[in-house]
Subunit: 353 residues, 2 copies
DNA sequence: CTGAAAGCGCTTACAG
DNA sequence: CTGAAAGCGCTTACAG
């Protein structure tokens, strides 16, 4: 049984003032519209001290309007075993900016009756508990989003998200420019047959990398082989595929990081060394996946900054008088030179099994 | 201007019932003292769905019931750059269990007027917004805890915490047993001069490791040298210190993981190899700190399980009718054999610079 | 300058 | 079985 704490009314009674005065004195609102004599203030503070009064934050929040709670929603668990390095940097930025903006963070971990996470449980938008929310991570489908948009619930995606005929606010990384930069760099090293290994059926981020790949080639006036940049299923990432590439003249290979471990295995199976036999670049942070390679050429995704900006954008949305207008923020990635790409002329003879 | 969230009153109006009925239906209190016809219940749920109604957790809390929000409080940032691997496994467990128990998680990121995190801001317990809270991480001082205890706010520590004359609920790892096991193992390998390198002025976890160290020696009837297990400041972890140890006969070295990088540097500076020249064990998870060592002998701290149990303990505390009674849960660590300890007889001659 | 009152959005006795 | 009402502890107009 918790003992009852003194309330504002208790303090007011003791100080012989009305509760309103207690509120005003405590919140330092005594110099604005309202004047309270120094003597009265003193009486209030004395009473506060004597009774050990602490304002109830819940009541405070209810009487105010916002609750300064920012939601964070993911369909997957947000602290997953596997993707250790994936969410973390985003959360880092989100936390930092939430702290700066003086908001608390609400992680939605409750599930629907089926034990799965969803925005709508029993048809009810469970994000409503927060002033607004940041959504991140992969979503199998976007069936809940249109409804969220209809409701005009304020939310921001981390990562580019698009829906036909709808506008979604997001903070994204500029994969087009980043990829173009990497590809230009490799082309500049004299490689003219760059293979681009990427998974089939991916999302916006994937398409942007493809666009960047094409752009770089066009800018340099170097044609690229369709055979070297077709999407592949995960299962197709095999030594056999690499041999096809080699047969087509590949001397450098770029990939998005998701299939890197598989790729490394295939490369190792062929007895090939990086970069002596094959130059390699990763279109994104290599993270912890890369074993045995210290400085991989590629680019760094500004994940913490994306998190920070998402928080700022969301708060903008909240304070927006003219209604929630979707906004898009695109942040540049940073080129990472690394050591896995060497000049075309410097590569050694290939020793393929 | 965002449209106002629908309130209970709105739903009540739409369903043609009183607000009280909405509350009862939503909270499933329709089979106890109060009966509500199935048809009325349906009307309420329909209205809830149509309007996207979600109960305001703040109002709920104020009106006296729980809001299914579990707080997570740390004085440091919870997603810190440096301690990547430290909080994460705890959070993993906390999230998992919160999901199972159907609670949401509230991360306290707001700061006091000085820009620092604290439980009391303006004398107000900011944790109050959640039903209870899990505290973790290092705390410089515990000035806020006595007050939290006085208030009888329900909270659970991850990691052992003690205060004179006060009882604090916590979920801890059993470092005594784990350390004893590691030391016994090393003694069993024939090493009789084990150095224990640990930092001065540490916490409960530290004392437990010391106790385990002593216990293992006593059990085997092997005396240990005080000179080999004195606490040291971080700055003292130098090649010189190791040479002192060697002069005293050290053939094996154990340490808590916090000073591992420093230690590795000192060992390398002496040109010593592990385990050929010196056996090494770490009293805790080596995490990512250990470079160049694949399988370090030591023990694994059940961090995710600690997180899970902390959530369960907290929920127990919440549902406790007879007031919050502090409880202590201690979980076993797992011995990790590794490859950094070899038999005393198998070690090579030392080559000390 | 100060007080009485309404209201934030819920829950929970208490009448009908 | 259902509704009207009080109350949780605060803040904020609004009267005096």
């Amino acid at each position: 049984m918790r003992k009852r704490r003194p309330t504002q009314a208790d303090v007011a009674a003791r100080a012989n003032v009305s509760p309103a005065i207690v509120s005003l004195v405590i919140n330092g609102r005594v110099n604005g519209n309202v004047r309270v004599s120094a003597e009265t203030q003193q009486r209030v503070w004395d009473a506060v001290r004597e009774m050990g009064y602490v304002a109830n934050p819940v009541a405070r929040k209810l009487a105010g309007s916002q609750n300064r709670l920012l939601g964070v929603f993911t369909y997957e668990t947000i602290f997953p075993l596997a993707h250790h390095d994936f969410y973390y940097p985003f959360l880092e930025g989100i936390e930092e900016e939430a702290q700066v903006q003086n908001y608390d963070l609400l992680l939605f971990t409750r599930t629907d009756p089926n034990g799965e996470r969803s925005i709508y449980k029993d048809g009810v938008n469970s994000l409503q508990i927060a002033d607004g929310a940041i959504l991140l991570g992969t979503h199998k489908e976007y069936t809940e989003l249109p409804r969220l948009l209809d409701e005009e619930y304020p939310f921001v995606f981390v990562g580019k998200r698009q829906m036909p005929d709808r506008e979604i606010s997001y903070v994204a990384a500029d994969y087009v420019t980043a990829t173009r930069e990497v590809i230009s760099y490799i082309l500049g090293k004299g490689h003219h047959r760059i293979a681009y290994l990427h998974q089939a059926g991916r999302i916006a981020a994937q398409e942007e990398r493809e666009a960047g790949f094409r752009l770089a080639h066009e800018e340099k006036g170097i044609p690229y082989l369709e055979a070297l940049c077709r999407p592949h299923e995960k299962e197709e990432i095999t030594p056999a595929l690499l041999q096809q590439y080699l047969a087509a003249g590949m001397t450098a290979l770029v990939t998005d990081h998701t299939n890197l471990p598989l790729l490394q295995k295939a490369i190792a199976a062929l007895g090939m060394r990086i970069p002596q036999d094959l130059s390699l670049a990763v279109l994104g942070d290599p993270l912890n996946d890369v074993r045995g390679l210290t400085a991989v050429t590629g680019f760094s995704i500004p994940r913490p900054e994306m998190g920070r900006q998402a928080v700022r954008l969301l708060i903008d949305l909240l304070s927006d008088e003219c209604g929630p207008s979707p906004r898009h923020i695109t942040l540049p990635c940073t080129f990472v030179e690394g050591e896995t790409v060497i000049p075309f002329s410097a590569r050694e003879e290939m020793h393929i099994l």
